[in-house]
Structures are given as structure tokens and as C-alpha cells.
Amino acid sequence: MTLLRHNILSKSVRDQVLVFVLIISSLTTIALVCFIFLFLILESLPALSANEFSQWLSDPSWHPTEGQYNLYPIMIGTLAIAGGSVIITTPIGIASAIFLHYYAPTPVAIFFRRIIELLAGIPSVIYGFWGLVVLVPVIIQIAPPGQSVLAGIIVLSMMTLPIITLATETALICVPHSTIYGGYALGLSKISVITKIILPQAKPGIVSGVFLQTGRAIGETMVVLMVCGNVIQIPDSILDPARTLTANIALEMAYATDIHRSSLFVTGLMLLLSISCLTVINEFFKKNHHARTL
């Protein structure tokens, strides 16, 4: 903070008060992060101390009222749904961004961008609602019960598509034109220029978009709660229902008490930690790349 004081030229009292107020309010941000971690850890402690660590993976199943806390099927459900949507969305999102930037004529590009922006803004509960009343009945026609991992993957993909598309597009804009012209001047075809020259340069931005999107897919609650069926089991196929960590919290928080409630905070803490890890890895990638190019 002493450094801060040196940066301020003016000595007026009003300014000093202003800086004081500003620093206090920005400390709120830092405090908020600390508090979120602190309280989740505090609330998780009862469950963490009551259970052996291995119990979270080896209990017969998840029946908190009977003292069984196996999170394994729920974790598998989360990974299957989030992973599936990331695998589907990444190529489509990158292709959409390439289309937007290199293939679409201007009016089409403007129109398509509006659609992507609208998709980004639609509330997740509306995606979930649409999935439940429109998409699930369609899936029932193919294979009951309809509420399934597949439904979750489809709706979640629609929801996270804009994230990767917009991230890729931003990265494409930043690719220097000189190298693009260089590629064309060597007689490379358009698709070679895109895949061999533009995409490698846009890679850090795209990777960071994928991380962002993975975080969103893991943390999304409403869509998976509404369309995935919420059955606690390791899904055998994508047509089986499954439950995710987030849906588990949303479903059981209303009636959970004591250790059960605390074990829900443990799942919350797991979510928080895994997503913070993604954020940190992403930062590391960015920095690493930055160091390599300079």
C-alpha cells in the first residue's frame, strides 16, 4: 500500500479519502473470494471429519440419510455430461467462428453473430425448460426414458456453444494479417491458411475458451437438473439418466440436515476447487504461451 501513496500526486484531503474508500471497496472483492472458500470449508468440516476419505468413493451408494456417501456415480455422471458437451461443442464452436470470420458474407455474419449473442443470453432455466418439454419427448420416441445423459449433453452444448465461438472469434481477430497474406502468397489454399497458419496462432485463445466452457458445463445446474433424470447410477449408455454434483445439491439442499447438509457442502467445495483449478491452469497456459512467443 505504501507504493500506492507514492503514485498519487495530489495531496488534497478529498483525494486521500477517495483513495481510502476505493481501496476498502476493492478489498471486498478479495475478501469475497476468501469468504467463499472459508465458509464452504467450514461447513464441509463436519462431514469430512465424520467420514473416512475413502468412504466418499467406496460406500455402497449415496444414501445420506442412512449414512452412505458414495459420490462416485455422481462424479461419473458429471464428467459424462460435461465431457460430452465439451467434445461436441468444441469443433462446432470453432467451425462457427471460422465461418463467421472467413466464410460468411457480411450480412450473414451479422445475422449469425446476433444469433450467437442471443444464445449466450438465454437464461439456463429456459434451456432446461425447452429441453424438458420439447427435446425429451423427441428422445422418448427413440429410446425411453428420455430424460438422459444425451438430453443433457445436447442442451448443455447449445448453451455453451456461444462461449467457445466468441472466444475463438476474438482469437481469430488478433491473428496478424501479415502472416495470413504470407500464407496466401505461398499458394496455400484457404483451408490450409486457416488450419496451418491461423489456427495455431489463435490456439491460446481457443484453449482458454475451451477451459471457460468446461467450467460452465461442470458448474451448470438448471439444465442438468431438468433434463438428465437425476437417477443416482453410473450410466451404461448415453440414453440412461444420471445425476450431477450440481443437481445433487439443488435437489437435496431443501431437506438436508446435519452431516447430510454438510456433505452437500463437500460437493460444493469439490465443484469450487475443480473450477478454480481450471482457472489456474488456464492462467498458467496463457502465461506459458506468452513467455514462449516473446
Binding site: G183, A185, S189, P200
Partner: protein, 274 residues
């Protein structure tokens, strides 16, 4: 000149090199950007294995002229061109001409060195692979050959897998030249290749250009009149009249610099008009 049918890429490579003295013929070329004319009525005949310098003040359309020859101008929206360009007697401005083959046969060096952000080796091999050289020994042989041709091999032979961005400006520019000649083009277009470089690198590159002219036809845009005089065999002077670029004088370099016919040229090369 009557040959306007579309050439299949693989047939076109087999077409015999014509014995015509002129490697590149430009007839009545005009370029319009938006609604503004930037170049009007350019006609030039460029003989094989010669160095032609294009000089003139900024904004007279020299760069647009070059980008018409390799059709990179297609990347700039809202540009129209009229007139005819024949390269090896093939019409360049035909909408159906094979741009990929064209750009393979016409190498381009840009004002600012623009190596791709990848290894030195990959910079050279990326286009070779695209154009069908798959054998890795052959690729390495060509890489070594072209790096030797531009005098870069001794400087970088131990770090071919390092990023090309770590090279100095002059080395980057030579790498870009190596990248272009790896494709065995017939014509090299150079758009002020030395303007972003230091005097020592300029000297190296000028010597390189002189050497290259034994194998390639070279068209070089330059702001440096002394450079044009040193290396070129013929010179074209572009001049903007009312904002529209025109070719005001074209002839042997000696004649242009010793006895210019046009008054504007005379003033320009003496530094009266800049």
C-alpha cells in the same frame, strides 16, 4: 493470349515455358478501390531473368500493382481491376485462373518480414508439403538448399527447430525469401523488402537479389532510389496525378537515371519532388 480456357492445375504445370522474351506482360491495367481509382492504364513488358525496379512516391499504387500480379488483391474487399496481365502468356486476371498455382509460380516478399510463428524448418516446409513434396529427406534437402541460397544456412543450421521469431529482422527477411524460392517460382515480387531493415542487412539482401536474378525474374518496389539504380536493369516510375497512379516513365535504369525523358522523373530522381 487466346488461351482463356480454364487450366487444370496439373495440366498447367506441364505447359511448356514459352519462348517469348517477355515473362510478364501487363496491358492497360487499372485498379479501383471502392469508387476511387488508384491506378490507371499501366502497360509494361517484363523480360525473363531481369530485375525491374518500381519507384515513385507513397500512395501511387505500387503495392496494389504488385498484389494484382499475384492476385492477393482478391483478399481486399471492394477492389476491382480491369485490363490484362499475362504471366507466361497465361491470363492472370481471368476469374477462373488457378490462384494456387499462380501464387506458387510467383513468390512474394513483403515489406515487413512475416515469418509464421513456428520453427524455421516448418516455415519453409509448410508450403512444400502443401504442394505435394511428402518425402522428409527431400524436404530437408530443399530446406538446406534454399537456406544456403539465401546465405542463412551457416547462421541457423544448429537451430532449425527454433522459432523463426527469434531471428533478427534481416534474417527473418532472408528466411521469407528462402520460403518463397523453395517453391521454385519463376517470378519474385518484392514490396520494399529492405525498408524495415538495418544497412548491413540491406547490403546482404541486395547482393542476394542480384544473385537471384540469374534464375528468377524480379520485380521490386523500392523507395530507395540509390538501391533501384544499384540493382535493377530497368525502372518504372509511378506517379500519382490527381490521386490516380500512372506509369510516367519506363525504360532501362541507366536511361531513367541519366537522361530521364519526363520532367517529373527528372525532378524526382534529383530529389526535388518527394
Amino acid at each position: 493470349m487466346t488461351n482463356t480456357t480454364r487450366q487444370h492445375p496439373h495440366q498447367a504445370t506441364k505447359l511448356p515455358l514459352t519462348e517469348s522474351k517477355n515473362h510478364l506482360e501487363i496491358k492497360n491495367l487499372s485498379i479501383t478501390y471502392h469508387t476511387k481509382k488508384i491506378l490507371e492504364n499501366i502497360s509494361m513488358m517484363i523480360p525473363r531473368h531481369s530485375i525491374t525496379a518500381i519507384i515513385g512516391p507513397s500512395g501511387c499504387g505500387k503495392s496494389s500493382f504488385l498484389s494484382c500480379i499475384n492476385r492477393l488483391i482478391d483478399l481486399t474487399p471492394k477492389t476491382q481491376f480491369s485490363g490484362e496481365i499475362y504471366f507466361n502468356q497465361h491470363p492472370v486476371l481471368n476469374t477462373k485462373s488457378d490462384l494456387i498455382l499462380l501464387r506458387k509460380k510467383i513468390g512474394t516478399i513483403f515489406q515487413k518480414p512475416n515469418p509464421f510463428p513456428m520453427s524455421i524448418k516448418k516455415n519453409i516446409q509448410i508450403a512444400l508439403k502443401e504442394h505435394g513434396t511428402k518425402d522428409s529427406k527431400e524436404l530437408d534437402r530443399i530446406t538446406r538448399q534454399v537456406l544456403q541460397d539465401v546465405g542463412l544456412y551457416d547462421e541457423v543450421s544448429d537451430r532449425l527447430n527454433d522459432s523463426a521469431l527469434h531471428l533478427s529482422g534481416g534474417q527473418q527477411q532472408r528466411l521469407c525469401i528462402a520460403r518463397a524460392i523453395a517453391l521454385q517460382p519463376e517470378l519474385l515480387l518484392m514490396d520494399e523488402p529492405c525498408s524495415a531493415l538495418d544497412p548491413i542487412s540491406i547490403n546482404i539482401i541486395e547482393n542476394l537479389i542480384t544473385r537471384l536474378s540469374k534464375q528468377y525474374t524480379i520485380l521490386i518496389v523500392t523507395h530507395n532510389l540509390a538501391q533501384a539504380r544499384r540493382i535493377s536493369s530497368s525502372t518504372a516510375v509511378f506517379w500519382p496525378t490527381n490521386g490516380i497512379g500512372e506509369l510516367i516513365e519506363y525504360g532501362a535504369t541507366e536511361q531513367i537515371f541519366e537522361q530521364p525523358k519526363n520532367q517529373i522523373t527528372a525532378d524526382y530522381i534529383r530529389g526535388y519532388r518527394a
